[in-house]
Every structure is written in C-alpha cells, then in structure tokens.
C-alpha cells in the first residue's frame, strides 16, 4: 500500500483490508475517522481533525450466520439494515430496531441514536450481544459474547457503541433477535407543537403492556406509532379497535389528541415511520445536543494505544 496521505477516502471490503488500512494510517501518523455508509453522519457529527482521512466500512457486507434456535445472528458491520431485515425475514425473526436510515447496521448502534422500538425493547444497543473491533493501532479485539447473557468482564460493547466511532472501528456484530411480528399497525395523529415534539418520547400502552413488542412509541409529528403485534394475527377490525381504544384512553386526557386511524399496511407503515423519524431527528439534533464527555480523552487513549485516536 502506498504511504497514506491526509484527507483520503479509504473504502475497505473486508475486515482484514480494514485492519491493513488502519495499520498503514497508524504507521504514517495519519488520523482516521470511521464511517459506514456515511448516511447518519449529519445526525451524529464528531469534531474530527480537518486533516483526517476517512475509512469507510460500508463494504463489509453480509450475514455470517443466523441461529434461529438461539434467536441470534452475526452480521458484518457494513450490512445495511434493509439487507439484514431481508435475511432475518426468511427465518421469521427481526431485529427490533428501526431508525429510518438506509445506513449500516453498525452505524445504527454506534451513533447512539434512538429506535422506534425503544419503549418496548429499550435502548438499541441492548440488542447487541458482542462485536469485533479494530483499534487505532490496528489491534483486533472482541467484546461481549454470542450468548444472550454474559456479565464476565467489563461491558466494552456498551462503552464502544454510542462512541460514534471514536474509540474503535466495528467490523462485525452479534445480535439478539426477536420473533418477527405477524402484523403491524400504526397510527397518525394531528400536528403537535414543538414543545410537545421535544418532550414526546411519550410511550402509550397497548392493552397488554410493553411485552413482546406490543408497546407504542409516539415521536414527533406526524405521529408515527409502530405497534408490533406478535401473536396470532388479530382481525384487522379487532386490531384497530384495540389500538384506537387504548390510544383514545391514554391520549385524550393528556394531550387532547384524537387518533385518526390505524393502518395495517407495512409499506404505509415504513413510509410514515421515515417521515416521522426525519422530523424527530431534526428536533433531536437541535433539542438534545450532546457534549463530549470529560472522560473521552482518557478512554480514547486506552483504546488508541500509541496511535492517534480515531477522529483525531
């Protein structure tokens, strides 16, 4: 490989190639910033050095395996969420994560952003069991395991996810999966005020509570409500009645909202989720600015060893 200059764009097609690129950068004293498909970069900006070269891992695509019995899978970091979802659909499984992005699966977690399934399944990173990483000095390490529970050692996975790629470059993820819902429903509601928007990570209960993905999350306007109904498909009318009744009960006294309808059409669901999310994301980028942690330099130094930390 030729000596690495600054402000280059590097695109790796495999973890080994990525490691070689990181090593070359480390040897040349070049700072790198890590991206997947760069689709969420506007949402999760980092203050990278202007002379950084960029290493893109969006080319690390494809499933390693899906274990339907354990409801787990291992996937290369640059695989898009859509590709992942397609593979999981065949096994009647799903990753309970949706952020409306066409980006990589690793980027979904590294950004630390929200998921529309948050109320039911917690923080997106809760679905990540383990990962493989390249450190800025080209060391390769694993975090976590492939089993659904492990408390051995420090939880490096959680520390690394959400760091926006400034500690290590993710090459592979092991994920916890859930049974694929057999029916979806969502709902649109009237426009809300900006104050309501910013405050409205409001979760409303479907009958039966949050378990098994039945919860609703209302974000922003237009109000997009995914309700993954897992069990035997309800009759459309039964579903609509259940969702609407609950929402009326929950929303009207609190916010004066009158839900306008329930749809069980997946295409419409995804379209509206995207629309809802983009509004939400804008609100979030202005409404919840994230300051760098005071601990970042010390933690970066641990992961970077003798090399320049990712992001410079």
């Amino acid at each position: 490989m030729s000596p690495l200059g600054t402000q280059q764009l590097l695109e790796a097609r495999s973890a080994e190639e990525a490691r070689e690129m990181v090593q070359a950068a480390a040897e040349a004293g070049t700072a790198l910033r890590i991206r997947g498909h760069a689709s969420r970069a506007w949402l999760h900006p980092i203050d990278a050095r202007p002379d950084c070269s960029e290493l893109r891992l969006g080319g690390l695509r494809g499933m390693r395996w899906i274990d339907a019995g354990d409801r787990t899978c291992r996937v290369q970091a640059g695989t898009s969420l859509a590709e992942l979802d397609e593979a999981l659909a065949e096994a009647e499984l799903m990753l309970p994560f949706w952020d409306g992005s066409a980006g990589s699966v690793a980027g979904a977690f590294l950004g630390g952003g929200p998921s529309l399934f948050g109320a039911a399944w917690g923080m997106p990173r809760d679905q990540v069991l383990g990962a493989r990483w390249i450190l800025p000095d080209a060391r390769e390490v694993r975090s976590g395991t492939r089993v659904v529970k492990s408390v051995a050692g420090y939880d490096l996975t959680r520390l690394l996810l959400g760091s926006r790629g400034r500690l290590a470059a993710c090459t592979e993820l092991t994920l916890r999966l859930r049974p694929r819902p057999r029916q979806w429903a969502f709902l649109q509601a009237p426009e809300t005020t900006p104050e309501q928007r910013l405050g409205s990570c409001l979760a409303v209960r479907l009958p039966g509570g949050s378990s098994a993905g039945q919860d609703l999350v209302l974000w922003s306007d237009p109000l997009a409500v995914p309700a993954a109904v897992r069990a035997e498909p309800l009759a459309p009318q039964e579903l609509e009645d259940a969702v609407l009744a609950r929402l009326r009960e929950a929303l009207r006294p609190q916010r004066g909202w009158e839900p306008s309808g329930v749809h069980a059409d997946e295409d419409a669901l995804l379209r509206d989720l995207n629309q809802g999310l983009s509004v939400f994301s804008v609100a979030r980028s202005t409404g919840w600015p994230r300051a760098d942690s005071n601990w970042l330099p010390a933690v970066q130094a641990v992961f970077a060893g003798s090399a320049i930390p990712f992001g410079g």
Binding site: G118, V148, K149, R178
Partner: protein, 486 residues
C-alpha cells in the same frame, strides 16, 4: 494496619462524616460483613460505615481516598461470586440506609431511587401506578437495586426483558477520588460515552453508585403460568427449544431438576411440584387476556408433545405466586441441606443446554457431592447448586474443581463463565480462558482510568496478581487442569 483495628484518626474522620453510631468496628458486627452469599471466600473488614446519603458517601470516599484505604460498596450482601470483600483493614460502605424511592414519573415511566432500595420494594411502588421493574433476581426480596446494577443481575423475566443494564437509564456516582457525577439520564438516549453501561456489571470497581434512574414498564394485562413435569432434564430442555422454535415469546422459561424439586417441597417454599418428576419446566406468558389464552394453549400443546408426566396451569394469582415462591425459594431451600452452597453460573447457547446439563451430571458424580439444578433455560443460563461443608478443605477443593470444569465446558460450547452473578473472586482464574490478553489488558487499563489507585473494590472481576490473592485469605490458587482428589 491490623486486621482488627482502624487507625484512630481514620476512624474519627469517618465518624465525623456519618456519625459515631454508623461506624461499626466491633467483632460481632464485622462478622456479618466478612463474606457475601458465596461463603467460600471470607475476609473481615476493618470497619463498616453506613452513610445516609450521597453526600456522606462522598465524604467517606474522600477520607478513604486520602488515607489510601481500600473500600467497597455493599447493598444486601446477596452477591454470589465473592465480589465485595475488602482486604483486611479495608472499609465496607454499607448503603442499606440509602433506601428511599425518590420519584416515580408515571408518564415517562422512570423511577429515581437510592441504591439501598430493595428490588421488590421498588416493584411494590411501581405496581401502584400499573408499572413494574422487570429485573427479578431470585434474591429480589432482599437484594438491593444498587447491588443489582453493579452486578448486572438477571432473573427469570430477563428472558423477555433483559438483564439489569437494560433497565438502568442513568446512575449517580461517587468516583474513587470522591468526585460526584451523573452518567446517563431519564431521556433513554445515550450519552456521548455510555459510562452508565460501563458501570453496570463493573462489580463496584468503577464508581460507587449513589443514585439510580430506572426504566419501568407497564404491568401486563394478563399473565399465564404453567408447568410441565418431565422424566428428566433433557426432555425439559427439548420442550424449551420447541417453545422457542414455535415463535412464542414467554416471559420466563425456568427448569428445576428433581433434587431442587425435593428441596423445595421439603421446605417452607413448598409449591406443589410433583416429587416424582425428573424435572419441571415453568413457563410464564403475558400480554392481553386473549393473547395469554392463545399463548398458554400453544405452550400447553407443545409441553404435551414431550411425554409430560403432568401439566398444570395456575388457576389463580395465589397458585401462580406459589409456583414462583417455589422457584425463587429453591436457593434458600437447598441452603438447608449443608453448611455451605456454591451456586454456579454459566451460559451456553440455548441449543447446547441438553449437552451442558449432561456434562454437569458427569462432573457431579465425580465430586461425590449433592448437586441440584435450577436454571434460566430460555437464556441458556445454568445454575448447578453444590451443597458442601466449607470446614472440609477436601470438599472445598472438589466444588471449586467442579466449578472450573463446568465453566470451561461452557466456554467450549461458545458460552460465558457468568450470566448474572459476576466474576468476583470466584472466577478470576477463568477470565484468561474467555478473553485474550489484549482484551484483558484493555479492561485493566480502563479500570485504572476510573480507579487509578485500585482502592475501589480491589482485586475483583479481573485476574489479579498472586500476591493480591493472599490479601483475601484465599485458601489456594486455582489452576485450570486440576483433577478431583482421589
């Protein structure tokens, strides 16, 4: 520093921080703090200090930091890995007085609590608002939320809802040098660095948790609890796989073997489980009333395909609670059988459950000690429960060798040496089998970032130097290839 005394000046300063009556140094009091629930490891602290709030914790930590005295925070002492002992002369910060539920925010479904709140007490507070706190370790009527978070505790409901870390939105901490910070928060979005996630499961070696911001979830509209009794554990494990393969998503999938059943049925935790069964599988489903009916019927049908000796469904809440009392009281019931117990904690991919349980049986026979099994089958999280007499060095050696063999087998099957109990002192010798040198070095370096003088719960979680082991009076150094004494 002697093992029995605290330097007078240090004592005065701690008394000034928390009040004279809240610094315990008499032998009788210290005895209660010499171990956690894994009595294989004991070490009497120099003092036990009981702060009333975060300010007092901060004051104590500042004193201990300046004096260079090792210390560890303790909740109820129900830990199962020897995780909160301090070297002789060290100080235990017992947080049991910090037991207030400060706020339940119903709309955001968030609770703010002090760390000494007992898990089940928060559950009762949340229930008044139609909410619940999901993590439910068997110790939940005693163990504290701070301890649960520090160990990243699990429990039966974790099959559906995940370990404690998934329910901790934020933590208020006192750092090793006495500074206070808050990591995470009620917004459920991640901070820049997820130090909250890093602190959960760090076994008290990153910071002292002085406040918790916890995620609450709604109470289900309906719950259905069933058990199937089978001829043996392997059949129960096959039934677990069938339930998962059918796309069902129960709240809990718990297996108890015959020894565990007998111990429960002979104790105050009697649940009406069939004594003749080789194993019972307890399944709980939740959701809407209609959904619970459908799921329970589906589970019942699947249990029926595995030659059950009996299938029983809880007919009312009292019956349901009786079944759970049996499952959650099993540890206590087994504790009656011998002076000491070692509850192992390993994880395998669920598809390897039958294989690991067969191996546990083989090892159990070699030890010649009674072993019972009760485990979170849905998570592949096994808990062989060895009864032994800690006064007999031969028996101690046998259970430790058995534990090592079983946990190494978990790793061979691509699992983990701990699903929910932590590493503590118990499993340090196995860390190098699960993690490589680079990974362990990273963990050691991160520990030094937050705990540079290693005063905060020293010597736990990560492999330690030989000299350190002696500080805990560990009776011997374990090796991986030891065989049972003849």
């Amino acid at each position: 520093m002697s093992a029995t005394g605290l330097p007078p000046l240090l004592r005065q300063r701690l008394e000034a921080a928390v009040g004279t009556e809240h610094v315990l140094t008499d032998a009788g009091s210290l005895l209660a703090y010499e171990s956690d629930a894994l009595t294989l490891f004991r070490c009497q602290p120099g003092a036990v200090v009981l702060p009333a709030d975060a300010q007092q914790v901060q004051a104590c930590v500042q004193v201990l930091h300046e004096a260079g005295v090792p210390f560890a925070a303790r909740g109820a002492g129900t830990g199962l890995s020897g995780g909160l002992l301090v070297p002789a002369g060290g100080v235990i910060l017992a947080l049991s007085r910090m037991n207030r539920v400060l706020e339940i925010d119903v709309e955001r479904r968030v609770a703010r609590c002090e760390p000494g709140v007992v898990n089940a007490v928060l559950g009762r507070h949340a229930a008044q608002h139609g909410l619940r706190y999901a993590p439910d370790p068997a110790s939940q009527t005693v163990s504290t939320l701070g301890g649960n978070a520090a160990e990243n505790a699990g429990g039966p409901q974790c099959f559906l809802h995940g370990n404690t870390t998934q329910h901790v939105l934020g933590v208020e901490v006192v750092l090793a040098d006495g500074r206070r910070e808050t990591w995470g928060g009620p917004h459920a979005l991640s901070d820049d660095l997820d130090l909250r996630g890093f602190a959960c499961g760090s076994e008290g070696s990153v910071a002292v948790l002085t406040g918790l911001i916890l995620r609450l979830i709604p109470q289900p509209e309906a719950v259905g609890t069933l058990f199937g009794a089978f001829a043996d554990v392997a059949t129960a494990c096959r039934a677990v796989s069938a339930i998962v393969a059918a796309g069902l998503q129960p709240l809990a999938l718990e297996v108890m073997d015959q020894r565990a059943i007998h111990a429960v049925e002979d104790s105050v935790y009697r649940a009406g489980l069939p004594r003749e069964a080789g194993a019972v599988l307890i399944v709980e489903v939740e959701g809407t009333a209609a959904q619970v009916e459908r799921d329970a019927a589906a589970v019942e049908a699947l249990l029926g395909e595995h030659a059950p000796l009996q299938i029983e469904r809880a007919q009312d809440e009292a019956h349901r609670l009786r079944i759970w009392k049996g499952r959650k009281g099993a540890g206590g019931a087994l504790g009656r059988l011998a002076p000491d117990s070692l509850v192992m904690d390993g994880v395998v991919p669920r598809s390897h459950l039958a294989e690991i349980m067969e191996f546990v049986e083989e090892v159990a026979e070699q030890t010649g000690l009674p072993v019972a099994n009760l485990f979170h089958a849905g998570d592949g999280n096994i808990h062989p429960h060895f009864s032994y007499d800690g006064r007999d060095p031969d028996q101690c050696a046998r259970v430790e060798i058995a534990s090592t063999k079983i946990l190494l087998k978990c790793l061979e099957l691509d699992g983990s040496i701990s699903g929910e109990h932590g590493i503590g002192l118990e499993k340090q010798h196995l860390m190098e089998s699960q993690f490589d040198a680079e990974e362990l070095a990273l963990m050691q370096q991160l520990r030094r970032v937050f705990n540079p003088a290693d005063l905060l719960n020293p010597g736990k979680g990560l492999p330690m130097k030989r000299g350190c082991a002696e500080a805990f009076h560990r009776h011997r150094h374990l090796t991986l290839d030891e065989e049972f004494p003849a």
